[in-house]
């Protein structure tokens, strides 16, 4: 069955080009074309279309995206873009549309984009979750990895893990992967990429979870420009419903920039000497001093022992902030990560997995 296509495009030339290419393909049947969004919203329903191309470089068409989503709820609604624009793409996503496609495109591209955006999950903005730790060795990477696996498993939606611990990223090792392309390639190529061409930089870890790897060597870290990393992350939000970023330890331009655009920041701390709580406090104060209205920074303490509410209160008192998440110790974790078998996870009935599972549920609920 061919898609019944409606094209909404104010530029005559562009409209002709799109219609021409669609007519050559047996997969598409152009049922109507419009040069303004009001006409399309009023009339297109008569043709029962299931695929829209709407020029979102045109501001009033962009603003009408949510009206298209409401009026044609079962249809794929694609915004067409002259050049990739992360902010327009974000607006399209917030409107609940299928996604954006870069002009010029071929019939094959359309099918691939529809496929890419369908497996992504619900047509809602992606959630960007970052893992920050003051000094490192906090269980940050392990937690990010397990959470990704659980979210993908529970939602059936696509999850991206980005290893932005540029000098000493451990995620490829946790999953026993040796990717040929890393963040160095993705950030250097980003100006030439669109969601469809960025997707292959992510390597499958397990059903629904893919990894964009850290550079192979610490000296390559300087090849990753913080502003390009932001562009990669923003584009990844079009391909994935959840984008989870593992950051390098401490405050640096990279970690601060990524946290600035994040929906949730987890400040991850493991208590050893006891002074780690002070470091977490300093970190929270630093984030507080530059906070917007949303409370998006959450505290996570790993390997909490004893794993009790009393202990939670004790930490909270020293911290001066609530302890949002407590993760228990699990000795088996080390050997699992050591053998590159993190993707297999641990038995669901362990306290560790139950706790992280509850954390995943909360994140999913907040994104619904």
């Amino acid at each position: 069955m061919a898609y019944k296509v409606v094209v909404v495009e104010d530029n005559r030339d562009a409209l002709d080009k799109i219609v021409h290419l669609l007519r050559k393909s047996p997969d598409f049947e152009v049922v109507a074309t419009y040069q303004n969004e009001r006409a399309a919203l009023g009339q297109a329903g008569m043709f029962q279309p299931n695929l829209f191309f709407i020029n979102v470089n045109n501001e009033s068409m962009l603003n009408a995206m949510s009206a298209f989503v409401d009026t044609f709820s079962g249809a794929y609604i694609l915004g067409t873009l002259e050049h990739w624009d992360p902010f327009i793409a974000e607006k399209v996503s917030v409107a609940g549309a299928t996604g954006c496609i870069l002009k010029p495109f071929s019939a094959g591209d359309i099918l691939e984009y529809v496929q890419l955006y369908s497996i992504r999950g619900q047509h809602k903005p992606a959630k960007l979750i970052t893992f920050f730790s003051p000094k490192g060795r906090a269980g940050r990477t392990t937690l990010a990895a397990l959470l990704s696996l659980l979210i993908a498993d529970k939602t059936g939606e696509r999850v991206a893990l980005i290893d932005a611990d540029l000098q000493f990223g451990d995620l490829p090792m946790f999953f026993d992967l040796a990717p040929k392309r890393t963040l160095v390639d993705a950030t250097q190529d980003i100006k030439l990429l669109a969601p469809l061409t960025l997707a292959p930089y992510f390597y499958p870890v397990k059903e629904g979870v893919t990894l964009l790897s850290s550079p192979e060597r610490p000296e390559y870290a300087e090849l990753v420009a913080p502003e390009s990393l932001i562009e990669v992350i923003m584009m990844a939000k079009n391909i994935f419903r959840y984008v989870i970023v593992d950051l390098p330890a401490g405050f640096n331009p990279l970690s601060l920039n990524v946290c600035r655009i994040a929906d949730v920041v987890f400040i991850t701390t493991m208590i050893n000497s006891g002074f780690e709580v002070n470091h977490a406090k300093k970190t929270m104060e630093m984030f507080d001093s530059q906070a917007d209205e949303r409370r998006k920074v959450h505290t996570v303490f790993t390997r909490v022992n004893p794993f009790t509410e009393e202990q939670r209160q004790k930490i909270a008192d020293q911290l001066g902030y609530p302890v949002d998440v407590m993760i228990p110790n699990e000795y088996r974790m080390i050997s699992v990560a050591n053998s590159g078998r993190l993707a297999q996870g641990l038995p669901d009935d362990t306290l560790l997995m139950k706790t992280i599972s509850a954390m995943a549920e909360k994140i999913i609920d907040a994104g619904r």
């Binding site: 003051p134 000094k135 490192g136 060795r137 000098q167 000493f168 451990d170 090792m173 946790f174 060597r217 610490p218 000296e219 870290a221 300087e222 913080p226 390098p248 330890a249 401490g250 405050f251 640096n252 331009p253 050893n272 000497s273 006891g274 002074f275 002070n278 470091h279 300093k282 970190t283 104060e285 630093m286 001093s289 080390i334 050997s335 990560a337 050591n338 053998s339 590159g340």
Partner: protein, 283 residues
């Protein structure tokens, strides 16, 4: 030994930086116990805490001070002519052992504002000490590279209990060699060497192509006691095997004939990778 440095000072003090590529593996404990051990031998020692954002030297010694690297930087900028580094040092003293400490900034904001060249100048001003021990953090930042450049010895420490930690130790060592630090200057020190683990020390040495210079045993109870009492191991756990092992390491570092060759030059890397990474990290 006297070595001409970038700023033209004849440096006579031995600078030992304590560096690793994995956090939380005992850098600060090592730095403190090296300082205490060297002071115990009668040397004038200063311990500089350059883990600027989250330094623990004062925490582990139960000391507080408002004088830090941040204050020293401000003073050096405001009144370079009147600047005296000794105004910003804090003293650790117990029994016959005393050494000076240049503490890390109290606030992250101050740590973030730290300038690599000014810190280098401050460390240069510590030249009147016999030994300057520098506690760093676990990455190749502009500051850490500048400190490794001016160091006589890089005490490169690792705990090899976890595969990613081994990977980071090996990659870190290769990177140090790549940056053209002399192999003789890099001292491989294994911490928690005798703990139960999956990876054998001998395999690690084969992988690195270098033997460990020294191995510190695993002794968590003594370390815990040291942190809880705010005292170096020689006071908190005088008879422990870890205390003895640190004493041996101090012995290695005080035998100047063996460890510091007279013709050994301090490298001063300018430009190249160094300036690139400086731009990237912004501090």
């Amino acid at each position: 030994m006297a070595v001409a440095t970038q700023s033209g000072i004849e440096r006579s003090s031995v600078i030992i930086s304590v560096f690793s590529t994995t956090p939380g593996i005992g850098k600060t404990i090592t730095a403190i116990n090296l300082s205490a051990g060297l002071a115990h031998e009668g040397y004038k020692v200063c311990l500089a805490d350059l883990d600027l954002q989250f330094g623990d030297v004062l925490n582990y010694l139960k000391l507080t001070s408002v004088n830090t690297v941040a204050g020293a930087q401000r003073a050096m900028l405001d009144h370079p002519d009147k600047f005296r580094v000794s105004d910003f040092l804090t003293e650790y003293k117990h029994a016959d052992v005393k050494f000076s400490i240049l503490p890390a900034p109290l606030y992250i904001y101050d740590a973030y504002q730290t300038d690599v060249q000014i810190v280098t100048n401050i460390i240069n001003d510590l030249n009147y000490f016999d030994y300057v021990i520098i506690d760093l953090n676990s990455m190749f930042s502009a500051l850490n590279l500048a400190m490794l450049d001016i160091s006589t010895i890089i005490n490169y420490i690792g705990v090899i209990d976890f595969l990613p930690a081994l990977k980071n130790y090996k990659i870190g060592y290769d990177t140090l060699i790549l940056f053209e630090y002399e192999e003789s200057k890099i001292r491989l020190v294994e911490n928690r060497a005798d703990s139960q683990k999956l990876i054998e020390g001998g395999d690690v040495e084969r992988l690195l192509g270098e033997p460990f210079y020294h191995k510190l045993p695993n002794d968590y109870p003594s370390v815990k006691k040291s942190i809880n009492t705010g005292q170096p191991l020689m006071f908190a756990a005088p008879d422990s095997k870890l205390t003895k092992s640190f004493d041996e390491l101090v012995g290695l570092y005080t035998n100047r004939q063996r460890t510091v060759l007279p013709e050994e030059k301090v490298t001063t890397n300018k430009g190249g990778f160094f300036s690139g990474i400086k731009k990237f990290f912004g501090f």
